[in-house]
Structures are given as C-alpha cells and as structure tokens.
Amino acid sequence: MTTHDHRTAEDAEALTARLTLDGVEVPFAPGETLLEVSRRHRKDVPTLCYDPRLDPFGGCRLCVVELEGSRNPVASCARAAEDGMVVRTTSETLEGYRKTLVEMVCSENRQVDVDPLSGYASQELRELADRYEARTGRFEGKRSGRSKQDDDNPFILRDYDQCISCYRCVRVCAEQEGDYAISVKGRGFDTQITVEFDGLLKDSACTFCGQCVQTCPTGALADRKALRHVDTPGEIEKTRTICTYCGVGCSVDVLTKGDTMVGVQPAMDGPANVGALCIKGQFAYDFVQHEERLKTPLVRGDDGELHPTTWEVALDKAAEGFVKARDEHGRHSIYAIASGRAPHEAAYTTQKFIRAGFWSNHVDNCSRA
C-alpha cells in the first residue's frame, strides 16, 4: 500500500460517489482509477507495467477488468472510476486472459527467476508466473530485447534479454527523475530500451539514480553492485533508515545478509523521496564496511604517533585533557564542534557536554563551511 492509497482511502469515506466492485458497493475519490479502488479493497489485480508513482500507461493489460456496458474488458490502471460503474476484477475469462498474457511474457525472456538483489520490483514477473502457473513453455519463439553487454558501468546492469518492454524505466526516468535519459528504440517486438544514440549510460543523460533499476519488474535493469552479493550466505533483510548524504532526507531500506551490508533500496513510501534516490544514496554505501574504517580508539603516544588503545585508556585521556584545560585556562578554553552528519543525539550530547560541563556556549556545528 502506498501513502497515496492511504490518503484516498480516507477521503473516499466522505464521498458519495460509488461503484460496484465484485458485487459490493464501494465509495471512491475523484480521480481514482479502477485499479486504485480495487487495490484499496484488497483485490489482487495483477500488473506488470504499473508503478503507483507514474502516470497510467496501460501497456501490460494484465489489469483488465470487466466493466458492465463495455464490450471489451478495460485496463483498470488507466480507467477513472465513475459513479455507478459495475466492475468485476476477476472471472474465469479474465483469469484466462491473464494467464495467456503471462505465458506470452515469459516466452520472450531468457529466464523468469532472478535474484531479488536485482532491484526492488524485480520479483514481479516471477511472482505472476507462479501465481498463474505460467511456466508452460507455450508461445515459444524469438526472444525480445538484447542485453547491452558493452556497458561496463559498475552500477546498472543492462540485461535487456530480460526486458518485457513495460517502459517503467523510461517513464520513471522522465516522470519521477526528470532526466529523460532512457527511451525506446524501434517498435513492436523489436522494441529496445536504450539511451541517446544507443550508447553507454555514462555518455548519456543518466545520473545513475537507480530509479529504473528499482522499478524494473524483471531484473532487466539490475543493481549490479548488490548482485556482487548473490553468493553471500543469508536471507536478505531490510532495515528502514534515512540516507546519509544531503539534507533532503530520503528514506531508504538498507539490505543486509547476516552482518553484511549488501545494498540499498529506496523506500517507495519515503515522505521526502517517494522512491527516488540519487547516485550517492543508491550506490555509495559501502564505506560503512570499508576496511579503512576506524575500529579502535587511538591515542597519541610519546613518539608523537597515534596508537590503538582501549576505550578505557582513550576516554580517560580524552577527559583528562578537557579537565586540565579547564583547570589551567578556565572553562572558556574548551570548545566543541558538533557534526552535521551524525544524529541529533550526537549534537545534543556535544552541546550538553559544553553547557552542562563548562557552563559556556562555546559550541558550534559545521554549518558555516
């Protein structure tokens, strides 16, 4: 459920417009699509080209529903709810179409199963193939899409053999990221996701924000950095936190296997970013477990060099210096600079250290540079 759905759900209660959804009359908010109403009512309408953040597209046609008065089923993602509509989200006929469609999609790809480290939405096709028991091998024929093997960028794998031409990458790059780096070459079955002049991402308008990777439902665009950890043992766990870089405060999920950080994915319901990230937030995370991390306290020895030591020794030494300065030069001789990078608790304790300890206001943070 997206935050968007939450909002419309609340709004909907207050409204008088109603439609009949699988035999039950339900209210809806103006502008809601049939798919949004259906999902809000926990109808499991399948989709592949849908991303709630993007404009309705109507490509995969899996979300078709029966609408009374309409000769053909309609794409629920693109159809606005109207008062008095009678809608069926499932029927034998619909499920038949959906199964055929999923079988057809499976027939154009090298494989259906991809590692979940590929990206946030990478399991969508796999899940539908399971749900519709679509690994039947029907409709075999030419495969679509050609992987861009000469693009050796370290971040985004362009495995277009796995592409199903849902255009989520194209649309997310235009509508969400605003970079318009990705586009479609050719047409029909020869459609190929590409960038300007079919070149490398680094030579294009791509900023490596990773949004295409995270919305791809098949792993055709995949997180090459995270995929280094395919063989790292352990289940993938996600921890919600906030990006460590600029002041925008994007919500992210840190992906871990055991004690190893294996990747980052944007939080689709992050209040500040709604699924967006930039190259730093998306890909520049491995400093955390970098071998050069400072792992023990260091104290300067008589030789003038810094030496590893225990916390007890280091903390005593640290405190000693402040006490000595206070005793010898007065309480105003001590100064502290808090970090704009560490959490509140760091800054708070730092200023309290000065104010409660030395009764002065000799504290600042790094915002002046």
């Binding site: 050069e292 306290p297 608790e345 730092t350």
Partner: protein, 533 residues
C-alpha cells in the same frame, strides 16, 4: 525551508539562485523538473551554466558575488511597475515604505553594470516572479557562502515580502541544507547563540530553564563561532572536541586551519575514518557509522526522521552520544547516564518548544515537520502561514558590497567552488564506495574554452591555481559551463585541496566563509612525467 519538499512541483514561477540542485540535492531537484514539465517558469541565477540553467526558461548568468545587485534590480522593477502585493505588505510587513524608497535608486541598468545580467532579463525575472500566483525561491550555499551571505538572504526575503510569495503552498524562501543532519545539529542546540530548538541563550528565561535541566546556570552571553574559535586556538581556546567533521579539508584556508588545530593543547576527534583532521588529534575515537547507528535526523524541510541500525558496528566503534557521554562522565559532568539514543532524544524533545510534541515513538514514520509544539499537534509543513514567527515581516534596506577580494592584476580570475553529483564533501564516504571512480576519477578545473586558449592552457593538461593563501595543481577541463573569466572546481579531492586557496573573508553576522569567491591566478604547467599515489 519555509515550505515542504512536496511543494517543489507546485509553483508557477521558480527562482533558483546559488543552487546547483541537480548535483547537490538531486532528489529535491526532481520536484523542480516536474514543475517545469507541468509548465512552470524556471528562472536560474548562477555564474555557471549548470544543468539547472539549461533547464531554465530564463537564465541569469551573474558575476560571482553580485547577488545583492541583481536582487536589488529586481526589487526596483517590482516596485516601479506596481507589482507589489499591497494587501500582503499592508497586513503582514513592516518598514515597506522606507524599503520601496530605498530601491528606487537601483535600476536594472545599474544592476547590469555590476552583475553583468542584461537589464531586460532582470526585468523579465522580476515580472515573472512578482506576477506568479505561486512564486518560490530556492537557494543553497551560493547565496550564503559570501561575506554578504546575510544580505543575500535578506534580499531574497525582501522579494518574497514585496510579492506576498510566502506562507502559502508552492511559495516560500527555501534554503536547501547540504548535510543530512545539519538542520538537526542546530535543532539540537549545537550553536553558540541558541539552546535546543533555537531558544536564544541570551534570554534569562531560557537560561533558567536550562539551569534547572543541567544543574547549573549557563552563560548569558553567546559563545564564539567555530570561525572565531579556530582563530583563537592556542590562545583563548586550548582544548577542542570535534565530532564528525573533516575541518581541515572542508573549511577555508587550510593552512590556517591546520595551524590552529596543531596549536591546541588537546584535540579529541570522533569520526568513522582517520581523517586529515583526526591525524592532528591527541585522541581519536571510533564512532559507529550510518547504518550502524540508531538515532534521529532532521531534513531540510524540518522533517524529523528515524535512523536505524542495520548492521553491527565495525570493530569497537561506538555511537557518538555514548562516546561524548563517557567523556563527560569522566570529566565529572552530571546528567550523562544515558543507556540509549532514545533517552537522549526524548530529553532533547522535552527541552525544545519546537519538539515538545515529539518523542522517539511519535517520529517512527517520519510524518512530522517541526514546529510540533505539543502532543497531538500535526506538525507544520508550511511556515509563516497567517503570521510570521516574529509578528510582521521586516523589510531590510540592503546595499551592494564587493566581495572581500576582487580580481586584480596578480589574481585576475574568479574561482568559485562547489560540489559534484558523484562525490560528497571530502570523499571520506564516496571515495570509499566502489564504482564512484568510474564516473569521477579525479577533480578538474572547469575553464571556458576561450580562456583555455587565451591563458595558454591545454584541455586535459595541468595548471597551477594560486591565491594569496596558497597554490594547488589541477587538471584543466574546457567547458562552456564556466563563463569567461571564472573557473570552478570542487573541494572533494585531497590531491586538489582547493581550500588552501579560499578564505578571503567571512560574513560579519554568521561568520560563514566566502567560499564562493576567490580571485586566483591560473598558469599552465608542463606535462607531468608520472603520477604517484
């Protein structure tokens, strides 16, 4: 920011000045891109032809450090052409009359003479901004990192007050904060003039409140700023605690800064890597990094959000609050018996009017933007609705001042500095993340192709960049992003430490350094035989 990030896609006219948002706040910039796609007018004022400028409908290529002139020119046009929002000015502001009289002298032609932007474009910018139903201003360090940073900000406020472009959805004055928790550091009271929640230390009431909380009265005088403290190292200042800042690389005038820290009797640095600053310390203490630390941060739109640990700390690293508390206890300071980040944060909330309605549990989903003065308060996405914090909005009469140093025969070129998309600050983090080098292996100096030729440089060749404070060698990159006579580089790479050059002056009020303007000399260097390191 006066307005929330979601407002960025809503204005009719967006005025971006001194912000390279697509590189420095890329996710925020997506909102502007959406607004432009929707048909909003984008005005961009920046000395460099940055990506945002390419997107703009109107680009104002001003000379570095002349923002006040440009903004005065715009204010003049707004006043002259009757575009002032009279009702707003009458109801919500003070000193308008004096201000409107003051700007009469500053014609767009006068402004053009200083900032170099054609007068006609200044007029257009003024009209678009003033006539917009929703006009919004966005800025970053290109406005503040000047000796006239406060004047710049005040000039922007004047424009917003004149036109009523504040206190409503899709309007406002919106500084973009550069670091993930720089807002939070201020919120938490790490300022020489304010307690937590921006409660002035000079107010006896606040003093009494904190005396009670901390067990002892704190000085009624403001403390010194970091800039002053660094000036006085080895003199009045003898011991210093630095948490998570690579001061010697990111601050201006590196030589001075290194000297200052060496002059201390005692320097304790808390960080996640042994930084250039840590190497000068007596004690270096390993902190837990992002993704290892539970805590709270506040973003640029004042949204208070939870940080959560995902992996165990490396080695013996400990959270910053624990380290500071342990030092404090050893100094005999009471009130540091915390057992969790939650306890620290909840104490902070209890002492801050802006955070009173928050605690560790409430902020779990990041729904609140401060001020949240009491429990159950919904938070405040848009500031200054109905009334300003201090009652009425105050017009300030600003005059243009030249930068601290201007180009001369010896230093004939303007250097301005900033960041790049792929690297962050001193690269302690991005420099240790694999793959980044693929896109940005080294720093370059961006020079206009005509200047490359005129100065005898070679695209891709080396040059020496010098200011009165030092010299740096760097590779030349010819690009039309730089205007003629102005060069650009970032301060990220340790092998091109441009902050050896900067530090010409500071804003008298905030003591923010003029990192955006530094006259330099650029000289070609013969080809390097080999590179080391």
């Amino acid at each position: 920011m006066s307005n929330p990030l979601v407002d960025m896609s809503k204005p009719d006219t967006i005025f971006c000045i001194g912000t390279n948002m697509t590189e420095c706040h890329p996710v925020a910039a997506t909102g502007i891109k959406k607004a432009v796609a929707r048909g909003a007018k984008l005005i961009v004022a920046d000395p460099r032809r940055i990506h945002l400028a390419e997107m703009a409908e109107l680009y104002l290529p001003l000379r570095v450090g002349t923002d006040v002139a440009l903004l005065l020119g715009m204010a003049h046009v707004i006043a002259r052409d009757g575009l002032v929002d009279e009702a707003f000015v009458a109801e919500r502001t003070r000193d308008a009359e004096e201000f409107l009289e003051h700007v009469e002298a500053f014609t767009p032609e006068w402004a053009e003479g200083i900032c170099g932007v054609p007068a006609a474009d200044i007029e257009t910018a003024a009209r678009w901004y003033a006539e917009a139903d929703k006009g919004a201003i966005y800025y970053t360090l290109g406005i503040t990192e000047h000796i006239c940073g406060v004047d710049n900000v005040q000039s922007l406020c004047n424009l917003a007050l004149m036109t009523g472009n504040i206190g409503r959805e899709g309007t406002g004055i919106n500084p973009m904060r550069g670091q993930n928790n720089i807002q939070g550091a201020g919120d938490a009271g790490a300022l020489p003039n304010n307690y937590t929640g921006f409660q002035p230390v000079t107010d006896p009431e606040n003093q009494a409140k904190f005396a009670k909380a901390y067990g002892h009265a704190v000085d009624l005088e403001k403390g010194m700023t970091k800039v002053t403290a660094l000036e006085l190292c080895g003199d009045a200042i003898r011991a210093m605690l630095i948490d998570g800042e690579n001061t010697v690389v990111t601050d201006p005038d590196r030589k001075h800064c290194e000297h200052a820290l060496r002059s201390l009797d005692h320097l304790v640095v808390i960080d996640i890597f042994l930084t250039e600053t840590g190497k000068l310390a007596d004690v270096v203490l390993p902190a837990t990094a992002w993704a290892e630390t539970d805590g709270v941060c506040t973003n640029t739109e004042r949204r208070v959000q939870r940080l959560r640990a995902a992996v165990p700390p490396q080695g013996e690293a400990r959270p910053d609050w624990w380290i500071v508390s342990e030092i404090a206890k050893r100094c005999g300071i009471p009130g540091f018996d915390y057992t969790s980040a939650q306890e620290v944060f909840d104490e902070l909330c209890s002492l801050s009017a802006t955070y009173n309605g928050l605690d560790w549990e409430t902020i779990d989903r990041g729904e609140y933007q401060w001020p949240v003065p009491f429990k159950g308060h919904p938070g405040t996405p848009i500031l200054h609705q109905g009334e300003f914090v201090n009652g009425r909005g105050l017009f300030k009469r600003i005059e243009y001042r030249d930068p601290a140093e201007t180009v001369s025969e010896e230093y004939p070129v303007w250097l301005t500095t900033g960041r790049r998309l792929q690297s962050y600050h001193s690269r302690t983090q991005t420099g240790r993340s694999s793959g980044i080098d693929y896109l940005l292996p080294a720093e370059t100096l961006e020079v206009h192709p005509d200047d490359v030729a005129a100065w005898g440089l070679v695209d891709g060749g080396r040059c020496r960049l010098s200011s009165p404070r030092g010299a740096v060698e760097i590779t030349v990159r010819a690009t039309r992003r730089s205007p003629r006579g102005t060069v650009f580089t970032s301060f990220s790479f340790d092998d091109t430490p441009v902050n050896f050059l900067t530090g010409s002056g500071y804003d008298p009020v905030t003591q923010t350094a003029e990192l955006k303007v530094c006259p330099v000399r650029v000289e070609p260097l013969p080809e390097r035989v080999s590179t080391s390191g």
